[in-house]
Amino acid sequence: MIAATLSLIGVFVSVYLAMWKLGWMGIMACGTGSCQSVQLSPYAYVFGIPVAFLGVFGYLATLVLSLASLQPKFITDRRVTLGLIVVSGIGVAFTAYLSYLEAFVINAWCRWCLFSAAIIVGVFVSSLFGLRNQPNELSVGSPA
């Protein structure tokens, strides 16, 4: 449930950044950060695709997987939770790379990126706990 909730919040954060990238949001709400410097840097693209767009797809994927893992037919099937761990793990690794760029290459921090980093780490950690606490088919099927 935590992973799904965080993923949904992540979807809205990345949709906001994607809409800003498309020019639909005016000035980026950033407080005292340097969001626009980061978002306008060449590192805001991966293979020509804006990072914010990748974020939308990534969070949608973790949202779908985390909701699927809550469905009764997957309650003992660890594959969905493992899929969630893999996808969010890739997200964590990618976020770590982006944070490195902010700290040492761009020399500017984007609060939205940090918020997103916290969200994806939260999704990853909660999915790990979810896997640990998930009953497997043997334990469900065996007599008490």
């Binding site: 449930m1 799904a4 909730t5 949904l8 919040i9 979807v11 809205f12 949709v15 906001y16 809409m19 800003w20 990238k21 498309l22 020019g23 639909w24 949001m25 005016g26 000035i27 980026m28 709400a29 626009q36 410097s37 306008l40 809550l70």
Partner: protein
Amino acid sequence: MAGMKRFYMGLAGIAVVGSGALWVTNRRAASIVPLGPIPMDAIVSGREFQGYVQGSDDAPVTIIEYADFQCPGCQAAWLLTVQDLKARLVTAGTVKFIFRDFPLEIHDKARQAHHAAACADEQGQFWPMHDTLFANQGQWSPSAGVAERIFRGYAETVGLNVEEYDACMAEGRYRGRIQASYEGGIQLGVSSTPTMIIGDQMFGGLTYDQLKRVVDSLVVEPTQ
């Protein structure tokens, strides 16, 4: 089951709040488009403006560039020629560089881009805005009807007082000056962008090496 129902209701609540926040933010994003006919007196007074200048008045060579922020060739010239020109010849005091507005009619966002740069100039930030517009041409040029919002973001990025920028854009304060620059270019025979006028010669897009050869031919001692 009751717990799951509450969970899904919570998710739905987040979805509603998130969508609402996006919608409100989108609505608030200002759309600032200077439209309508340009008063003749604004064009006449705009003729006094000689362009955006970098370099010393004592430089032996003056280069005037007529360019359009939405023109891909001008972006290439900025990237491949003008930056070197500034770093080497303008800084060395050999060249005085003048940028003049020449927004082509075929480019639907060029006037707004030039006006955004003019409003940045009002706050002493023309060149950062000039560089930002060319560097990000690929972002704003194909955008559908939202370029002015992107320019507003650039205005903030280059450190403008955004309220003053908004007022400048809403008023269309420099439309006459931009039109005067365009008409001045036409009178000189400019028909495409970029056009470089070096001394009394007119060129299209030049590489830095080509440009330097022309400059060298105009000064007594060759440049570095």
